[in-house]
Symmetry: C2
Subunit: 221 residues, 2 copies
DNA sequence: GTACGGTCTGTTGCATACATGAAACGAGAG
DNA sequence: CTCTCGTTTCATGTATGCAACAGACCGTAC
């Protein structure tokens, strides 16, 4: 193979590309991921592809049925419930931890985020607000300053394909305004360093967003 | 969307054996895990060994330095703090969820466990009590009836190599008795279906056990 | 003694060939 | 038509060879 050697590990490129494809939905749920097909597509041999799939399996994004094939994971209804339960748990804990840390950089970014959120809601700019919602939750997690928590959280969100779901949730009438109000309360409690309440309210916020999501999803499910 | 399929392939044997070796400490922290050495030892080729190591990496048990080698992960002080933070969080949530479920099978097993624990403490049988402590925490997690929570929890405990640590913790004078008392309270709150309090007390219990552990590890800290 | 540079060894990264099992398929019997 | 069972096909599972890179080692110049 006189291929002008790709710089950097080929496998890592394969992994991130595959992951992105699954999260964004470019690879349909339940679809077969053939090793040879992927290998040809990425211009590498089966070996790095196999290792990438293996990693995606432990991340819960694909299911490997031995001797049969690798398939894009299809979360069941129960999986969704469990994932949201975990989301509630981790984000609640993050709110508490952040509150305990005091006025760190992430808190200031949250203030700016909430400010921008107000503007987006007032302007009824749903796409912009969806972005800000994601940033809000992300800041909370990062601000908790616990790399394990962050890692597990990201794994969960990937399984949820949350970046797609958030739009559905915000599509419910009045949800954006309500969501933004809840963000306000969480931020205030973080600023007041009231970890207990911040955690409680954050959990309620997650439950509310889940309800809105399921309400928007129900027809199709 | 299930966790690692328990098939009978050689690779799964390699993985579980390696994992066990790391968790139990048979493979020293920081030690180099040579692919060829492991392959020869297990009587397989490098390929399944490589894939096993890859999986252990995403579980956080080994660190792969590209083109250099694979090493048994050595948790830093900060890692330990973060891991305990997560332990507190997950076990607390599990207590809450179990309390909400009512009188399920795991609750009955917990009652029996606490009863046995009383006997072990009274008899000053430390080894037996260490077993029971692990079972207690395990029942709690399983009883939460959330497979994601359980999976993440097990990953974390593997990283902590908790099965080794628990003995250190219980070695502190009076810790066993105190621990058993705390188990009692948690169980009572679960029986009373008081999820809020169960979570709170469980968190305190985890923090207390962490303090006992650190005191036993480094008397100076 | 120290700094420098080249070589050398050990390790992983990737490609490829072969082994093996699962599921689809189709011919034939009933 | 339907069921059975052997065959065929196609996917993954594993072994192995070669290449490339990191780091140790050693001789040499100063």
């Amino acid at each position: 193979m006189e291929r002008p050697a790709a710089n950097g590990s080929r496998q890592s490129r394969v992994i991130s590309e595959m992951r992105q494809r699954i999260i964004t939905g470019a690879a349909a749920s339940g679809a077969l991921l053939s090793e040879v097909a992927l290998a040809e597509e990425f211009g590498v041999s089966r070996t790095p592809v196999r290792e990438a799939l293996k990693q995606l399996q432990t991340e819960g994004l694909v299911e490997i049925r031995p001797r049969v094939g690798t398939f894009v994971a299809a979360p069941s209804r129960r999986d969704l419930t469990e994932l949201f339960e975990m989301k509630e748990l981790l984000e609640g804990a993050a709110a508490r931890l952040l509150a305990q840390r005091g006025r760190v950089r992430e808190v200031e970014l949250l203030e700016e985020n909430v400010h921008q959120g107000d503007l987006a809601v007032r302007a009824d700019d749903r796409a912009r607000y969806a972005e800000l919602v994601q940033e809000f939750h992300d800041l909370l997690i990062v601000g908790a300053d616990n790399t394990k928590l962050e890692a597990h959280y990201r794994t969960l969100m990937n399984q949820l394909a949350y970046s797609r779901l958030v739009h559905t949730s915000l599509g419910q009438p009045g949800r954006a305004l309500q969501s933004e109000r809840e963000h306000h309360v969480v931020l205030e409690l973080v600023l007041a360093k009231d970890g207990d309440s911040a955690e409680r309210v954050m959990r309620e916020h997650v439950r509310a967003s889940r309800r809105a999501l399921l309400a928007g999803l129900e027809p199709g499910l």
